[in-house]
């Protein structure tokens, strides 16, 4: 018997192959005529001005930080959810502690204006 994750491994190979096969077909049949004008950056016909790879708006970074906190919480919540009914009252009390920790962090982020789009 192949282990479940062995099967996932085989599917991973096919997942990598799929786009390669899909791109191999146009490689054979599609024309390939590179040109200077054709390869310019498309910005609706205007000449592109200035750098594109710049330091970007910090708003996005704040959301990302809050996201990381919540995502880690999620990883803890899932195993807890599976065991919820087996653990009985312990899990029930723990739920409020978990959610309380989560909400304190959420409230802080909200209060500090990390969730405001400026």
């Amino acid at each position: 018997m192949v282990d479940n994750f062995g099967a996932i491994g085989i599917i991973l190979i096919f997942a990598i192959l799929f786009p390669i096969v899909m791109l191999a077909i146009p490689k054979m049949v599609a024309p390939r005529k590179p040109g200077k004008e054709k390869e310019t950056t498309y910005e609706c016909g205007m000449e592109t001005r200035g750098e594109t790879w710049i330091q970007f708006k910090t708003n996005y970074f704040l959301y990302a930080l809050v996201f990381v906190a919540f995502d880690v919480e999620t990883i803890f919540l899932y195993p807890w959810a599976v065991q919820f009914r087996k653990l009985g009252t312990f899990a029930f009390v723990e739920m409020f502690i978990f959610i309380a920790i989560l909400l304190v962090g959420f409230w802080y982020a909200w209060k500090e204006g990390a969730l405001e789009w400026k």
Binding site: N4, A7, L23, A30, T41, T52, F67, D71, R85, W110
Partner: protein
């Protein structure tokens, strides 16, 4: 209730297994390879038919005819489009970061193939029935953010950069309500296994036990697939095509394929987790599954052609300040509900 003919594909799989000695390693490998090829076909089929469906439904909702020239009622339109795309030149902009630019669409479609491996298409029809199924599904589909950002950054185009940045902000914001909305179901079923979640719904579908979870999931899934009213990532009227602006030919088509594969995936997950998956009377299980997926797809199409696009601050506000508290409330309600239920019927709990 009995289902007729639901074992058709299972019997075929059993027959093929028999050729390679039943439960040997060879049989498992051969079955997985066949399953992978079926997933390939399913992605292509889903994309071709869903694009046609989308255009037809859009036409119907806007009192137009939609595509109606190629074949009967225009059924071959998407096939013709796909053939055309295969013959288009693959242009790499001179300013782009070639590797990041080239790899992004390949990641999108590869991740779709990986996710489709754990979806239960019918009774006994799960390509890989992982014991951490739903967790794996969320983890792998969460990675979809990365190729969008790769496309946005690698293109070295200002529209693409804005699109990529928006994609990251939007997808991570709606990731959390999405993940939390499925937590209630895990608490009830005590399992991550997709087939076990479907089996647990033989008496009652979880949409009735988790109505709030279903609503939050549906909204968050719309945002995760970057569909209107949350299509700021593409935002045709403001960003040309967002992160996909510089892509041409098959590389662009891979993004499109991935988009519709993801639409299929989120619909299939909703059907599995909330609508009872393959459960249903008389008809074979995989037909029930297909009906439920099509219902969910139709719902997403309906959203797209009904609601206007949100503004970016409204989008973030809605995700963090409305959906997230709602999904946390759903966890609390489910926990209290299960606890009271177990107090009343202690024999069933545990």
């Amino acid at each position: 209730m009995p289902q007729y003919g639901s074992g058709l594909f299972v019997s075929i799989a059993h027959l093929i297994r028999g050729l390679f000695g039943g439960t040997t390693v060879t049989a498992d490998v051969v079955m997985t390879v066949i399953n992978s090829l079926i997933i390939w076909a399913l992605i292509a089929l889903a994309a071709l038919s869903l694009i046609l469906l989308e255009r037809k439904v859009a036409g119907w909702m806007q009192l137009r005819t939609g595509p109606n020239r190629l074949g009967p009622r225009g059924w071959f339109q998407t096939v013709a489009d796909a053939m055309k795309l295969l013959g288009k030149e693959d242009i790499f902009p001179a300013a782009a970061d070639k590797w990041v630019f080239g790899l992004a669409p390949m990641f999108v479609i590869g991740l779709s193939v990986m996710v489709m491996a754990v979806i239960p298409y019918g009774k006994g029809m799960v390509p890989v029935d992982l014991n951490v199924g739903i967790f794996y599904l969320l983890a792998v589909s969460a990675l979809t953010t990365i190729p969008f950002f790769m496309a946005g950054w690698g293109s070295n185009n200002k529209f693409a950069l804005l699109g990529g940045m928006r994609a990251v902000a939007q997808m991570i914001s709606y990731e959390i309500p999405l993940v939390f909305s499925l937590l209630g179901v895990v608490m009830i079923t005590q399992t991550f296994k997709m087939s076990a979640i479907v089996n647990a719904q033989s008496h009652v579908w979880f949409i009735l036990l988790q109505p709030l979870g279903f609503v939050v999931y549906t909204i968050a899934a719309t945002a995760e697939t970057n569909r209107a009213p949350f299509d700021l990532v593409e935002g045709e009227s403001e960003l040309t095509a967002g992160a996909f602006t510089e892509y041409t030919g098959m590389r662009w088509a891979l993004f499109f394929l991935g988009e519709y594969a993801n639409l299929f995936i989120v619909s299939a997950v909703a059907a599995t987790v909330f609508l009872g998956g393959w459960q249903g009377p008389f008809l074979p299980g995989w037909i029930w599954f297909a009906i439920k997926v099509l219902f969910m797809v139709f719902l997403f199409l309906w959203f797209r052609w009904t609601f206007p696009r949100l503004r970016v601050d409204q989008l973030m506000h809605f995700g963090w300040k409305v959906l997230l508290p709602l999904s946390v409330a759903n966890i609390l309600l489910t926990g209290v509900g299960i606890y009271i239920y177990q107090l009343i019927y202690p024999a069933i709990g545990g």
